[in-house]
Every structure is written in structure tokens, then in C-alpha cells.
Amino acid sequence: MKVIGVDVGGTFTDIIMIDSETGEQYVHKVPSTPESQDIAVTKGISELLSTINVTASDVGLIVHGTTVATNAMLERKGAKVCLLTTSGLEDVLEIGRQNRDNIYSLRPTRPSPLVDRDKRIGIKERMSATGETLQPLEEEEIERGVRRLREINPDSVAISFLFSFQNPEHEQRILRAVEDKIGCYAVASSNVLPEFREYERTSTTVLEAYLGPLVNGYLGRLDASLRETCPNANLTVMQSNGGTLLCSQAHGRAVGLAISGLAGGAVGGWEVANRAGIQNAITLDMGGTSCDISAISGRIVVRSDNDVGGLPIRTPSVDVKTIGAGGGSIAWLDEVGILHVGPQSAGADPGPASYNKGGDDATVTDANLLIGRLNPEYFLGGRVKLDVGKATRAMSRLAETLDTSTEEAALGIVRISTWNMVQAIREVTVERGRDPRQFHLVPFGGAGPTQAADIAEALGINEILIPPYPGITSAYGLICADLRVDVMRSVLLPHKQEYEEVIQETMAELSLDATKQLEAQGVERDNIVFEWKIDMRYAGQSHELEVQLPVKSKRIADISVESFEHAHMQAYGYVLTGRAVEWVTARVTASASQSKVTNTEPAYNKDEQHRTEREVLVEGGRSVVANVLRREKLLVDQHVIGPAIIEQMDTTTYIAPNWSAIQRSDGSILVRRKDSD
């Protein structure tokens, strides 16, 4: 079977196809079509198939990473939503947690709510904390709500009542009425996120209603047009949790695609590391405008929350930190004359000064060009010619104000942008109690491998692993991902033996629910792998810790408290012996593998070596001569001693003096510090 991964980025849509029997891989890149992402997706796949002469009907699976949901949130282009919520609490969505993002602001603002006051309808009903009905939901009240909806005529409806995770009856009754009588996209919080904390649950449910019509419309369109191109292929889509979802099952799960595009990068980087036998990896996906960082030990970390554009989302998401540091990041001086780099980016248009498309700001790419790391004739495999003159002019303007040389200014930009990434990596490692020196750096994206050496040097990291196709690692991640379902329900119970059975039952019910969802996507029950987890805390704490449970365990009470104390010790350095413990939210993850990617020798051309030389500036302004090689001409086990540069279509790898590289048989390159043995 042939499997295709297609990842939509801001600039390019990347496609990788793999033959799951032979392991052969083919890659392709086409410019993205932001106004309608499916155009580039369909076009790119057709182009790839026609260039390598593969029969379209052999393609069995297409996995898609999309930014449709992310962009709709950032640009506020979702549906017109009505919210039905418990009377008296209509403003919870707007008040949020009452805090402000910027502490030092005299006039704090927050993103305006996705549903205005006049579309938030209070419904008379009330459940208690234990799920008993305090005020019943009367039929007339349902009718009144439906009448209001008819008047407003929304695109979609979100329903979120207090304590619905304890008793969903009221929510479900009104949901049925809305489905019967209004017929638009409608979702209830007890289905979307049966978790406690009314604000987070409500805002996530509203977001589902906001994104649902758009995301499902997009996927439906794409599915239909791909059916024509590849008649036998299932279309799945990457979710924020790092697993995939059959696109026909996305109703009610659109919010799970919030960071679909980011998740593929982390999965791809980790997959490459994992195949090379690496246990601790920092994946660094550096593109034109931003840099996405994830520190992974043993397995990808999926956290239970996330936010996009200031909107909190309580859905499981791969732990990725994004900062505004990319090849297009602009260098600028403040009023006192201090040099800063980013977060503003020149993007792809006008792009860095050297693109010669009208940009006159010096960027990180211009700096890397001027210090000799980038080849003006072979950027993106020669498809973009870099103009050294334009870069020099932009840089010398900066240098003049800094009262330094053009070269020093360029080195300074590289140094500062490196430091920005180093700081972000320290945040996801050191500040969480992990030592970056224990990690391999796995740089990818178009710009990652060019600055990886500086980053590793600054962090004391000894080994860098460069993926085979750094520029399309996110697309590679897509084809490595499993189908995955996350389900959860808050229980809010004291940790006592007498409640163990309740937890058992909840876990079993959640597992059954997850099984049904995977079966609906064509998975055999026997191929499903489960994970059981539960969020716990000491009574009185307001943060929970997620604890892993053995699947189908009969001793949940004992095991969970042991694991909780262990996790608490790890995270906070102490345990409170004798303090009451609580079970908060039960979680089940079910996954099933889709395609097996087999290892393969790199399909590199083994004839004569391509070797030139060029001068590269290193710290201190010294110039050294570096060997320049082509990635596709490297032989397995070939050593490359730094200073050296390895060029390929999708990136340029810089190997610093004191570092050396070796081409591995799995296609990746391992770069090591010379004195690290």
C-alpha cells in the first residue's frame, strides 16, 4: 500500500509518499494556497503521482496536517454561535478566570468572547455538585430556548450547563430539541469535554461550535476531491493530540484539530530520533516565521490543555512551544541602539532582503548568507536565488548604526536569534527540571539545521541528529501517526477504597466509548491499544497531576495513590503524607496503528562526490574554509569533519569547527562534538 502525508505550512505544502512494503519514499513541495488549502493539497498529490508514475488506486491512505482550525481561531473567522447555558451564569464565558495576561498593563484587555452577550441564552435549570436536580428543566423552558434560537438564526449552537459532567440529562434533552427543531451544527459540553471547571468546559464547547461547520465543510470538500484523484484512499487528519482521525468522524471533534499542523512536526522529529535509538530528543522545527520546540523523553508528551490566540482549549495537545524565531525574523535596533531579532518576520513575501522581492530589513537568513553558511545559488535547491548585494546593503545599514562591521552585525544576528531559541529550550527543559545536556537536538524545517550547531554549543548538547528530509519532517510525522481517540470524564471523588468500583466502571465505560469510536473508523477491536490515566490532587490543591494506571487494573486505589505521590515528588519535590487525595478526571486513550513505515537505505545517488569549498565566518569574525557537500551524494558511514556545509534541496546543514558528522544508514546524519568522547 502507498501512504501519503500532506502537511500545509504557511509558505509550502509538503508531501511525502511511502511504499509500506518496500519502504521507498518520495517527496514533493508546492506553494500553499492559504485562501483554500485543499487546492494545493490536491494539486500537490496529483503532481507527485504523475512524476513518479504511481497508480493512483494504489494509494490506500492519505494523512493530512492542516491549519484550517488554527487560522480560523487566529483570524476569528468561525461560525455565528449561540450559547445555551445555566441561567445566572451567562457571563462566565466572558469573565474567564478574571486575570490579565500582561501584568504590567494599566489597561489590560482580553480577547473578546466568541459569543456576544445577546447570543448567550440563560436557561432555567440547575444541577448540584453531585449531579442531583435542584431545578428541573421544564418543557416550556426548552421551547423558549428554541424560540430564541429561531429569532437569532445562528450557524451553530453550543450547550453548556453547570455540573453537566456529573449529570448530562438536561444538556442532552435540550440538544435533542435543538437537533430536531433547528437542525444546525449543535454540540453539548457533556459530549465535547465532560470535565469540571465551567469556564474551560464552556469555552472549549463554544470553540467546537465555532470551528465545527468550517472544519467539517473543508474536510468534506477535500475528501470529495481526493476521491477523484485516489479512489481507494481513506482520508485522515492529524489531531492536536498527535494521533489521527478519519475525516468523516470529525463532527463534534473539530476543536481537536486546533494545532493539527504543529503536532506533525513533533511526531516526525521524534519518530526520526526514535528510529536512531535516541531516548531524549529536543525537536526544533525552525521555518520562516516561527520555531516550534518540544522536549521529548521516551514518549511524546500530550498535555490536557493548550491555547491558541488567547483562547484556552481543554483538549489533549502535543506539548509544543512556539516562538517567533525563523529565517525571516527581522533584526532591529531600539532607541538606545541595542540589537534585537524578531519576533516580527519578513515571511515569504517580501521575505528577507536577499530574496530581492522588495524587503529591505536584514533577517536571520540574510545573516546566514553573509557569514557563508547559505549558498546564494542553491537555496531551496536553487529555486530561490539569494541576492548577496541586497543582503549586504541591508546589513551594512544596521552595522553602521551599531558602529561595527557588516560581518560582525551578521554574526550578532545569528548569535541573538540562537539565544532566543536557547532561552525557549531552557524553558521546556531546565524550568521543568530536565537537563538539556541529556538530550539530542533534532533540528528540522528549512532553517533548523543551519543554526543547530550554535544552539547545541550554547546548551552543552553533544549530539545533533539531522533527519533525512529536514524540510518535510512534519509530513513524515503524519504518516507515522496512529489513529487516536482521547475520552475523559470528571469524577471528583475522594480517594477512598469504597469509590474504587466507581472508578473501575468509569474506566470501563470510557474504554468502550473509545473502542466504538475507533471501530467506526474501521479498526479491528484486537488492534486497539489502550492507556488509562487519572488526574489526581491533594484536597485543597487547585492543580491536578495526571497519573498513569495499568490498563484493566483491579487495584486502582492502591496503585493510583502510589503513582500520584511519585509524580508529586518528581514535579514538586515533596509529598504530603496523611493529606487526603482526590480523584478528579478519568482519562482513556485508545490508538491503533495505521501504516508501518519500514527503515530503508537512503536512496541516494552513489556516483561521484560533489565537493567544493567556501569561506565561513565564525565567532570572533575569523574566517575558516569549509568543505561543501551535497546531501544526496553522501555515502553511508561517510564522515564529514567540520567546518563543513551539507547542502540539500530543503535545507542547509552547518557543521561547526570542533564538530563532525556521519551519514547513517537510516538516512539521518549524526553530528557530534569532537571533544565529547
Binding site: 490579565r100 501584568i103 489590560p108 484587555t109 485543597g540
Partner: protein, 526 residues
Amino acid sequence: MIEDPIAFEVIKNMLISISREMSHSLMRSAFSPNIKERRDHSCAVFDATGQLVAQSEDIPVHLGAMPLSVKSCISNLGKDLEEGSMALHNDPFTGGSHLPDLTLVAPVCIKDERVAFVANRAHHADVGGVSPGSMPGMSTTIFEEGVLISPRIIVKTGTLIPETVEDLLTKTRTPDERLGDLSAQIAANNVGIRRVHEAASKLGLSNILRTMVDLRAYSMERMKRVLKQHEGRSAEFTDYMDSDGAGTEDIPIKTQLVFKNSGVQVSFEGTADQVAGNVNCPMASTLSSVYFVFLSQFGSGIPINEGCWTCIEVDVPEGSMLNPRFPAAVSAGNVETSQRIVDVILGALAQVMPDDTVAASQGTMNNLTVGGRDPERDSLFSFYETIGGGTGAFRGMEGTSSIHSHMTNTLNTPIESLESEYPMRVVRYGIREGSGGRGKWNGGQGVVREIEILAEDCTVSIQSERRSRGPWGLQGGLEGAPGQNTLVVEGIESKLPAKFTRQVPRGAVIRIETPGGGGWGTDSEA
């Protein structure tokens, strides 16, 4: 001015990241909920003379207070503060904010020389005094508020000497937790010391020391450039606290601002003398509030260090409410009075830069405490929260509704969490319509929060402000509605004062309506 602007940027970021890493270490290993969950702590790096060089972005009220404590330790202890030792301090009359905030100061020594200091300040859950939590509502002297600690060495050769904190451990209700929090503070300073050493060996000690000097000069230069634009202007403003909780009402806070010499002079001459109640604000918290306004108003993007306020000269009469003498009660000073100091400075700034000043925000934190016996769990409970309100409007910008402003930023309690853990029910939680001051741009709305008490004979305390005078508007904008505290028992409503403690029966409903923000500009339709 700066020799190597590129090295400067790198070392600057490194120093800031040192204070951030100290902060994370402290938060991870502390015990007190105030530290772990409300982030009521700060960490910072100082030069060898105790000048602030870099600070983690934690809470505003520690801003100016930390350097005073560090300098106090240096001048009191001199050479005794040697390698491997650390000094503890909380005295509100020599740089402390209120007694629960304990500051721990450690020298960084390289080759037998003190090259820098690192320090952290954390709000401990209990340091003794007449009430649990050491924040008594009705105190009239500092003795009722807990143990007062003048600079003293509590760590020698890296080890905590328990005898040196015996008074604290005897008076606190939770000695084990105190030891745990102190250990966490020691660990955080050790992280800072280690990181400064690493930085020195990697980038050169002389480079680091030079950058420390440059950094202050850099921030000062940037502040001066902004302040200089107002050279020669001056203004005066007076605002009032509702009450001190001990019988005094309408307590004036007066300020005069004079912009000169590329800086600003801030005088509080004319402010009320210290009062009997606990709204007296220690000098350190007064400075923090002043610095907060100037940093927020003028310092966007400027790294926070002592250089930011070397051009801000603050004069507070000794013995006044904002620079009280021992043994004044101070526990509410940095929660309520600090908010009014911000208002007073903004009121004066509005005359200097009328188009660029925000109207008054709610000016209170609306502290609510409910305690009693939970009938279902048959155990004692104590619940505490603060409630947001409206922020002031600005030219071209409406105020924000139902949010925390200025000197606090703590989260609300989710209703589903409150009702699961306490015998209470939230009847209403919403935006207080019509409370924002009208104007061309309206002030933000306050909050209405109604809580029904489901246990017999609970004790309810409220510490609030802006119950008689609403937050003022600017340029013709009207004032926001003052807050209101109401008790409803069996359908009968009665008005409650701004500050009180009283018993209420089961079924009573407490309604707290928080102030709206002031409006900006004349509303042409009004």
C-alpha cells in the same frame, strides 16, 4: 554608551533567565499555596552593592521592595554575609512589605569576593499572629500580625541553622511547612548562585559585571528619554481611602509630581498620618506601587532593574500612612492601600499627559473570607477569594469588564470547584451591567457575585474599598459605580459596610457588587 551591544543583549537575557529559573525552582518545591498556585513570590539578581539587575516577572507589589530588603541585609550584616551564608528578613519598617513575605538574600562569591547577590521573596502561609494566615482583618499593631524578622543570618556554609528561626517556628501554626518553604527558598538561591558561576566561567566575570552596570544604565537611559518629554510639568492629586476598618473614614492620600532633570519627583506630603487600622502601607509597598505605575505607563519593553527608577525620586513623610512607624498594623496595606496609591499617581499623571492616561480602575481587590463548620463533611472550613472589577477607559478604548487590575492578578474560584468543596452555592456570577462610568469611551463593568451560605453560623469577612467614592473618570468621563456589599436573609436585604466581620445564618446570601471603571471623554449622547 554600551561597548558591545551584542554581548550586552546575550548577557541581559541570561541574567533574566537566571531569575526566571530561580522562580521556577521556588514554585516547584514550595509548600504554601500562595507560592505554588498564586505565584505570590519574586526572584532577582543584584550587583555587589545590592542594586537590582534582573527580576523574574512575578508580582508587581514586590518590585521596589526586594532591593530595599537586600540593601538592609547588606548594611546590617556587613562582612558576616559571606560565601555560603544567607540572610532572612521581613521587617516592614526596613524594606519588608507585610510579615508573611519572607525575603532570603545570598551573596555570590567568586575568588573570595562578593560579586553579586541573589534573593527571593515568598508569601508564607502563616507566620504567627492573632489569626491563621497572619492577615488579621482588625489588627491595630504589628505584634498581632506575626513574627517580625530583622536581617539575620539563617544559613551558614550552605546549611540552615534551625535555632536561628526558632521564634518563627514556635509562633507559626505550621512549623513543618515553614521549614519546607525555607528549604525551597534556599534551593532557589542556590540555583541562582550556580547559574551566575556558570555564566561567569562561560562568558567571563568581567563581561558579566560590566553588563550589570550597563544594564542599569540602559534602562535608566530609556526611562529618562521618555520622562524627559514631560520636563518642567507638575501636578497634584488627592484621593481617599473609604475607611481603615477601625473607625476612621475618608483618609486622604495626596501626591505632587514634578518632572525635572530627565526624571520625576513624587512627593506624598499632605497624606494622612498613620492610622489605627491595618491599611498602613509599608514604605517598600508604597515604592512598589509608584514604580509599578511608572514602569507600566512609560517603560514598555524596558528591562526591569534599579536603573528604571533611579530617575524616580519618591518622598514619603515618615509617620504617614504610606511610611508608617513601628509598631503600626500593616497587613492590608499592600492589598488595598497599594491600589489607591496607583490611582493617586494616575490622577496626577492625567494632568500632565491628559490624552495618554487611563481612568481609575476598580481600586480594590474585594477580599472575601467565609469560615465555619461544613455540615456534610463535619469539619471546619475556611474559604478565601478576591474578585475582579472594571478597569478605567482610555482614549479610543473602552475599559475591560470583570478583571483584576494593577497590584493583583489572582484567578477566580471556578463555581464547580467552590460548590464541590464548600457548603456554598453561587446563585449569580455575572457582569454588573451599567456599573462602568459613562464617557465617550465607557469604563469596564464590575462583577456581581451572589453566594448562598449552606451552613449554620458562618463567619463572613470582607475587606473592600471604593464603596463610597466610585473610581473617577477623565476628560469628562463619569465615575464608575462604587461597589456594594449586601446581605440577604429570608428575602430582606441589608447594606453591609466596606470592611466587616460578622456571623450569618444558613440560607443567607452575600451579594458583592464590585466597582466599575471610570469613563473617558464626554459622552455626547448623555
